[in-house]
Every structure is written in C-alpha cells, then in structure tokens.
C-alpha cells in the first residue's frame, strides 16, 4: 500500500527524465518495428516522407495512425476527412480515461507543464507512470522522459520502413507482437491490491472480449476498461473509515 501523501507540487528533474526513458528501453525495438510497418503502409498510400514524419511527430499514436491510413482515400473530400478524424478519435478514446487518471499526480503542478506533459501521453507511459506513482514516485520528469524517448523512436523508425517498403516479413515468429502485452501485463500485475482488482479486471477482460467479438474495431478497450474501473469503484466504500466523514 502506498501511503496517502498530501498533494505536494510534483517536481520535474533531469534524473526523472532519465528514469522515465529507462522504463521504456524494452519497448524501443517493438515500437520501432511497429513504426517500420506504419512507414511502409504510408508509402503504399502515397504519403510523402514529409507528410509521414509530420504525422508521426504530431499525432504520435501508432494504432490510430495505422487504422486511419487504412481509410486513407485516393481522392480527398470533406466526408473522407471526417472519417479519418472520427476513426482517430475512436481508436484514441482510451487516452481520455488515462488522461483523467493523471489528475491526482499532475493536478498540483503548473498547468503549462501538466498539459505539456500530457502531449506525450501514450499507453506505454500511462502504464509505467501509474506504476511509478503507485510506488510513491512524483517526478513529472519520469512521465515526460518516457514519452519523449518513444516519441523520438516514433519519428525515426518509420523512415526506413517508408524508404524500403516491407522490411519485416514475419515478426510474429519472433514474438515481436507480444513484447508490449507481456511487458504491460508484468507492470500492471504489481498494481494488484486484492479481491476488488481481481473482480474488476475479470469484468474488464470479459466485457472487452465480448465487445470485441460483437463490434470489432477498438471500442472494446474503452468499454471494457470503464466497466472494470466502475466495478472497483463501486466495491470501494464511499468514505474511508479513518476519514470519519
């Protein structure tokens, strides 16, 4: 159990930036390979290298970019633009929940730094950041360092993929697709705090699976996680006993 700390203004240090970057080192290779794939798809869809790099730097959301590139039209018009924006919003909707979860940590910080840090929010620094916070860490640099390292990887890695087309023939045989699921699962396993989490995570998994079967796409991530989060919230007493409301 982490102690309940008073909301102190979180720090932002160089040591924190380095710590965050270190957390992400195991993900550099799988993110690079994902980046190569996005680069190759972008080349097929006729994007220029400048357009691809601009997208990687500004959007910085791999799954959403891949799905949006799948919808990339040959001839643009208003509805095509709307479709691309909408699918990006849907795939990234989970970031809304993750962003909300950083309120207790980032809330007391300078808003410019807090919102600036959130520009680097991805699944990877969300999960690592929540682990770090649960262990008592409060340095914003950790979150930003983790986000920036993968951001640089995300800008660089698609370029060779774009130039070479399909480089990776069979990454599945080498388990590249499993690196992120395995690493994330190990990280969240440590956050488990008892029966409530077991129930909530079971519900999240079942709902996620059912919605994925029924709807396809990526909406199951949001619905499943919300269901699990609500179960845990409802199982928690409304006021702490020590608080003596």
């Amino acid at each position: 159990m982490s102690p309940v700390l008073p909301p102190a203004r979180p720090t932002l240090t160089r040591a924190g930036l380095v710590t965050g970057a270190r957390w992400m080192v195991p993900l550099v290779l799988p993110v690079s390979i994902f980046g190569l794939a996005v680069g190759a798809v972008a080349a097929q869809k006729g994007l220029t290298l400048v357009e691809l790099s601009l997208m990687n730097a500004l959007v910085y959301a791999g799954a959403a970019q891949l799905v949006a590139l799948g919808l990339w039209p040959e001839q643009w018009n208003g509805p095509a633009l709307m479709a691309v924006a909408l699918v990006t919003l849907t795939v990234n909707a989970r970031l809304l929940l993750m962003s909300a979860a950083f309120r207790p940590w980032f809330g007391p910080a300078n808003p410019v730094i807090a919102y600036g840090a959130l520009l680097t929010l991805t699944d990877a620094n969300y999960i690592a950041g929540q682990r770090y916070y649960a262990e008592g860490g409060r340095d914003l640099g950790m979150f930003i360092g983790a986000g920036l390292l993968l951001w640089v990887v995300w800008i660089v890695a698609p370029i060779p993929g774009y130039l070479a087309g399909r480089l990776i023939q069979d990454s599945r045989a080498f388990g590249v697709d499993l690196v992120m699921p395995i690493y994330f699962s190990a990280m969240v396993a440590r956050l488990w705090q008892g029966r409530n989490d077991s129930l909530g995570w079971l519900v999240a998994g079942l709902v996620g699976f059912a919605v994925q079967r029924w709807q396809g796409g990526t909406v199951h991530v949001v619905i499943g996680s919300l269901a699990g989060m609500m179960i845990v919230a409802l199982l928690t007493p409304a006021a702490k006993k020590e608080a003596g409301r």
């Binding site: 949006a68 993750m98 207790p104």
Partner: protein, 103 residues
C-alpha cells in the same frame, strides 16, 4: 516528390492531431472539476489492469497458447517479485519457443 505535402493530406494530419490532443488533455481537464474521492481514486488505481485485461483478452483468445502462456508467466513472475525486464525475457523466450515449435 517525397518531400512535397498536399493541402488535403496536411488538413487530415491536422484533424488527427486535433482530436488526439483533445483526448490527451480533456480527461485531465474534466477531473479538475470533480473531487477525487476514495471510490474514484480506487477506480483510477485499478484502471491500468482493466485496460490491460480489456485489450489483451481478445488478443489471447485469438492468438492462443503462445500469448496465454507468455502473459501468464509474466504476471506470475511479476507477482513473485522478479523484475519486469526478467519477466519479459523469460515470457518472450517461452512464446518464441512455442511458436517455433509450430503452435
């Protein structure tokens, strides 16, 4: 040329950027108006596990034995106090072995 950029493509990239920046910031913004009580705090604390469960359950069902064993071993090793990196290496090694064996 590969260095050009067309207006429509730039518009599409800007639209993708706008919606992504919105979701990255808006949850945090909204929570500024909502007091975080013990229930919400517990919910947020368990959210990473819920995200992982909702994301990876369909993947495990679809992928089968290699994903199931890899994730299961990683979770057990993490719970047993091994480092994340060691859990990753062992679990990934097992998954590769299972896949190379043709499962």
């Amino acid at each position: 040329m590969i260095l050009d950029a067309s207006l429509w493509t730039l518009l599409a990239i800007l639209a993708m950027t706008a919606v992504t920046v919105f979701v990255r910031m808006f949850g945090f913004f909204l929570m500024g108006f909502m007091p975080v009580g013990p229930r919400l705090e517990a919910g947020f604390r368990s959210l990473p596990g819920a995200v992982a469960a909702a994301t990876f359950t369909p993947l495990v069902v679809q992928d089968g034995l290699s994903a199931l064993i890899a994730i299961g071993v990683a979770v057990l090793m993490a719970r047993a106090g091994k480092s994340d990196l060691m859990a990753l290496c062992v679990a990934l090694g097992l998954a590769i072995a299972i896949r190379q064996a043709g499962f």
